[in-house]
């Protein structure tokens, strides 16, 4: 059973958002890392870059495949997790903690309201596997 922390917001593309002041911390969910398998490479944007909600900001690669990752909220990148360059496996080991990918200063904090709650995301992933 994949882990789905209560205090986060979720997208249908399997990203999570943790709101921290006016910023959003973003990564991929436990369900996503489990489906991907061993992450061997993470492509992240540069700080200062701006993205619209649901726009691709990079990619996550396993041995066999490349998956794009999408920011659930619009805004400007303030920080990226540089350690993923050397240790991409953190995405598998700790997807909600050390495996975080980007911090975004939200241009529209209300974007978060249209995301899924933990319960809704859990239902969503159950439906996907059926």
């Amino acid at each position: 059973m994949a882990n789905v922390p209560e205090d986060l917001h979720y997208s249908k593309d399997h990203e999570w958002v943790r709101v921290d002041g006016g910023e959003a911390v973003i990564g991929i969910t436990d369900y996503a890392q489990n489906s991907l398998g061993d992450v061997v490479y993470v492509e992240l944007p540069k700080t200062g870059e701006e993205f619209a909600a649901h726009q691709s900001f990079g990619s996550v690669e396993s041995v066999k495949a490349v998956s794009e990752v999408f920011t659930p909220v619009a805004g400007e990148i303030t920080k990226i997790n540089e350690s993923l360059a050397e240790e991409p496996e953190k995405v598998n080991a700790d997807p909600y903690g050390d495996g975080w990918m980007i911090r975004v200063r939200m241009s529209r904090p209300e974007d978060v309201d249209s995301l899924l709650t933990a319960a809704e995301y859990e239902d969503f992933t159950k439906a996907e596997t059926e």
């Binding site: 398998g37 061993d38 061997v40 490479y41 690669e61 396993s62 041995v63 490349v66 360059a85």
Partner: protein
Amino acid sequence: MVDFGGWDMPVQYPAGTIEEHLRTRTHAGLFDVSHMGEIDVRGSDAIAFVNRLTSNDVTKLIDGQAQYSALTTPEGTVIDDLLVYRFSEDHLFLVVNAGTTDKDWDWIKSHHAGESVELKNVSPDYCQLALQGPDAVSILQKLTDTPLSDVKYYHFSKGAVDNVDAIISRTGYTGEDGFEVYAAAAEGERLWKKILEAGNYGSDDGVLPAGLGARNTLRLEAGMALYGHEITEATTLLEASLGWICKLDKPDFIGRDVLVHQKETGLTRKLVGFEVTERGIARDDYDVMINDQPVGKVTSGSPAPFLKKNIGFAYLPIEFANVGQEIKIDVRGRLTGAQVIKTPFYKRQK
């Protein structure tokens, strides 16, 4: 689970591709390769017939020996790569790829030109399990009376594994020592479980079942070609750097004249191995650029888990097909540096 040549097969087991790959190099991995095809060739003309259809020299085999070879087209290109096993002077056994079994069978039958041979597609009759890695000998020895140290590399023995009749072949597709075990299809599940048990599956240094993902990363790291990628009906054996299984001075075989001519006039392109030197992973079908011009495509590209680098194969114009040549790979719109290096990328310590 994915469809592979019409077979339902696992990409990986719970341990994951990387762990399955590493465990095979350090201890042992077990692969269910029952999807492979098997063709029996019997009769007084067995050797002459197969020698005419394949590039390697079948007459060099002794009873109990196998060779890597290729079924060739009249253009010297590749119908399939395969292993040719000699049971006796009038009994050969061909092991071919799963996705090309039907094609190969039709090709072989249609090229039967009156030789005294009986051909049989026995693929459904066999299961095949590959136990690969430095611990393969000690694990398999627990299940057989055949003294495995007497079965030399690229040789095989008819014996029994867990009292089940089996062909025990010291061959494999990983670059490690190990065996491919052929037995009656119905025995596959039992042998699978027995080998896992004998190999201490579950312990940190025991055997791991390994899927298609690890099968691919292991063979790529070991510098081995995959049909449909490095070798196709559009690549000659010489271009594919398989001149070593191409015995041009044996009696005539399909495509021999073209290969002889190509050897004389020289190649225009050649398969090379490369490693990515900047950030990124080169993958199948990515463009290879030299001086901002696309000069070829990656035929196989992937991370190499044991070597901890990103590697691949590509065909390059002959003038660039040299160790040290710097190239760029177009990784989804971004050019990343790579360099041609010697293959095999990985060679096991003997």
